[in-house]
């Protein structure tokens, strides 16, 4: 399938490292996600107090998206967000389940429950960057470049979006990994399944 679109920018966050276009922006010492995300928030110059209210999945997606979108010289209100992962919001689901498991200590928390949906992280990104755009959260067994490619192409071709922020954001069993890329009309890398797969593995 052919495409006239390009991967304008991409970012990875994993193993205490944030990299943009494969170049390290931040490398922190080995630690847990909570400590790392706080470090990344400060080092990357993010100013957004609501960040600290977010769950881990939203923090991860938010940080990754923020790196891409604040470096975008031609920001578009109509930038769609299409994210995916394997574990959905299971990390926070367990947290909510713990608040209701014991009848004698039954205090479900609305601030936890609201994050028991994977697409909340898309909402957080949309609020920060004022994106009134298409949203979709997909769950795959593993990173699926084919489906992400098709969906992004379809949004761009039908003019439902002028850019698409795509990728993978996973927080599960203490591990985390984000790979986001921005598809648009301009850029140096062709938007193809092969290139998406190659960049993901960087």
């Amino acid at each position: 399938m052919s495409s006239n679109h390009y991967i304008q920018a991409f970012v990875h966050i994993k193993n205490e490292t944030v990299s943009l276009h494969g170049n390290t922006l931040l490398a922190a010492p080995k630690t847990d996600f909570s400590t790392f995300s706080k470090t990344a928030y400060k080092e990357l110059g993010t100013k957004y107090p609501k960040f600290f209210k977010m769950d881990r999945l939203s923090k991860l997606a938010f940080l990754a998206a923020d790196v891409l979108l604040k470096n975008d010289k031609d920001p578009q209100e109509n930038t769609a967000i299409v994210l995916s992962n394997r574990a959905s919001s299971l990390d926070t689901d367990m947290k909510h389940q713990n608040t209701i498991a014991d009848a004698a200590n039954y205090y479900p928390s609305p601030a936890v429950f609201v994050y028991t949906l994977p697409n909340i992280c898309i909402g957080e990104i949309s609020i920060k960057h004022k994106l009134f755009s298409e949203n979709s959260f997909f769950i795959f067994d593993r990173f699926n470049a084919n489906y992400l490619f098709d969906y992004a192409e379809s949004l761009l071709k039908t003019k439902k979006a002028s850019k698409v922020l795509c990728g993978w954001v996973e927080v599960d069993a203490g591990n985390y990994e984000a790979f986001l890329y921005l598809v648009s009309d301009t850029g140096a890398i062709k938007h193809t399944i092969k290139e998406i797969t190659r960049l993901y593995k960087l």
């Binding site: 389940q97 909340i120 909402g123 949309s126 949203n135 979709s136």
Partner: protein
């Protein structure tokens, strides 16, 4: 661009185990909601619509080993099997599968669940469906809060338009669980009574469960009599708040405008709106503001939550199917529970089930995360017009 249709369909709910029987009940204005006492789900009695487990396993054991499948998997498989069988489509690599759910098998996290916790992964739900039917393509699990069911229809259309598939089966479902009910209760969003969308006396939602499935196809041959064409679709975020509906209805207004634009029709061409109408104070108010901004205050409108409760990831697909049958039967279905306007802007709520020539309807949904989806459907079979 080529056309895409929604054809074969199934609903399993407390009102029946296929679309025809469920729609028959809706037409008679029968609710599936009842007061249920089950302390495993909620400390006090609550209104809900639940698929009886005994009846479900009774049906399922004819096609599968009951111990190997969770309740939700049994619901989805039974519902989807009805659609796949009726369509007689060969399940090759031109056939996609979308599973729409918000929480999947979340009940396996409960202490007494006989299933391993790994079954809570939504992809394992997709795998269960894929393996049962021997599908050859990777399942696409869509989990986008309360718009999932209707967004799944738009998603199917998009994958077909992109040339990935010729046909896409969608199955959708969510359970009434302690997980969900406790969460909505912590939001003080649950109603103590059967819900009353848009009504002055509404006090919140009821959570319900259904499984709903459809075939979305690019082939115009072999469509069911109630089949519809998807003529426009769009989603827009409010970019405002992760749980509170926008005070201006911004995302919903934009979604409907974009869907209408794609459909190349006017708002007057829409015969009725199957709206979201959860019966919370803020959601219904937001919709009233949005439909007034869209100048659709005179378009007949209903919420089906009074029949089924809010069925989460299935609601959008369930309500699409009921809408298809509404068009086919040329009948506007009543918005159950409504007696007196309780939103600040006028809406044309369908108060009584009424015969009327119909051809086009708009389905909308809004959800946590600020998402809003609008899809416009038109009768596929002209002779029924």
């Amino acid at each position: 661009m080529s056309s895409t249709f929604v054809s074969h369909n199934n609903i399993i709910s407390s009102l029946g185990c296929n679309s025809q029987s469920v729609v028959r009940q809706v037409k008679k204005e029968t609710t599936g909601l009842s007061l249920v006492t089950d302390e495993r789900i909620h400390p006090k009695p609550f209104y809900t619509s639940i698929i009886p487990s005994e009846k479900l396993t009774e049906s399922f054991k004819e096609i599968g080993v009951i111990d190997q499948y969770t309740k939700l998997e049994q619901m989805l498989i039974l519902s989807l099997k009805d659609v796949i069988d009726a369509s007689a489509i060969e399940l090759d690599d031109r056939v996609g599968i979308i599973v729409s759910t918000t929480k999947g098998n979340i009940d396996v996290l409960e202490k007494n669940s006989p299933f391993p916790k790994e079954r809570a992964y939504l992809s394992s739900l997709g795998d269960a469906v894929k393996n049962f039917f021997g599908l050859s393509t990777e399942p696409i699990v869509l989990s986008n809060a309360c718009v999932s069911g209707v967004l799944a229809v738009a998603t199917a259309k998009r994958f077909i338009a992109q040339g990935r598939f010729d046909h896409v089966f969608i199955t959708s479902g969510d359970l009434v669980t302690q997980f969900i009910v406790s969460g909505f209760n912590s939001f003080q969003a649950l109603s103590d009574l059967p819900c009353k969308p848009y009504c002055k006396y509404r006090t919140g939602i009821n959570i319900g469960e259904v499984a709903a499935s459809v075939l979305v196809t690019s082939k115009k041959t072999g469509l069911t009599p109630e089949a519809v064409e998807i003529i426009g679709d769009a989603s827009c975020n409010d970019a405002n708040h992760i749980s509170g509906p926008s005070r201006t209805g911004e995302g919903l207004v934009r979604a409907v405008e974009n869907a209408i634009q794609e459909a190349t029709i006017e708002t007057e061409d829409i015969d009725f709106i199957s709206a979201h109408g959860t019966a919370t104070l803020y959601n219904d108010e937001m919709e009233a503001i949005a439909f007034n901004r869209l100048r659709m205050l005179h378009t007949p409108l209903h919420s089906l939550k009074g029949y089924f409760g809010h069925t989460l990831g299935a609601s959008g697909l369930l309500e699409t199917i009921v809408g298809m049958h509404s068009l086919h039967q040329n009948t506007l279905f009543a918005s159950l529970g409504y007696t007196e306007r309780g939103v600040s802007k006028p809406l044309n709520i369908i108060e009584k089930t009424t015969p009327k020539q119909l051809s086009t309807f708009l389905k909308t949904a809004s959800g946590f995360g600020g998402c809003n989806t609008a899809v416009i459907f038109k009768k596929a079979n002209k002779n029924h017009k």
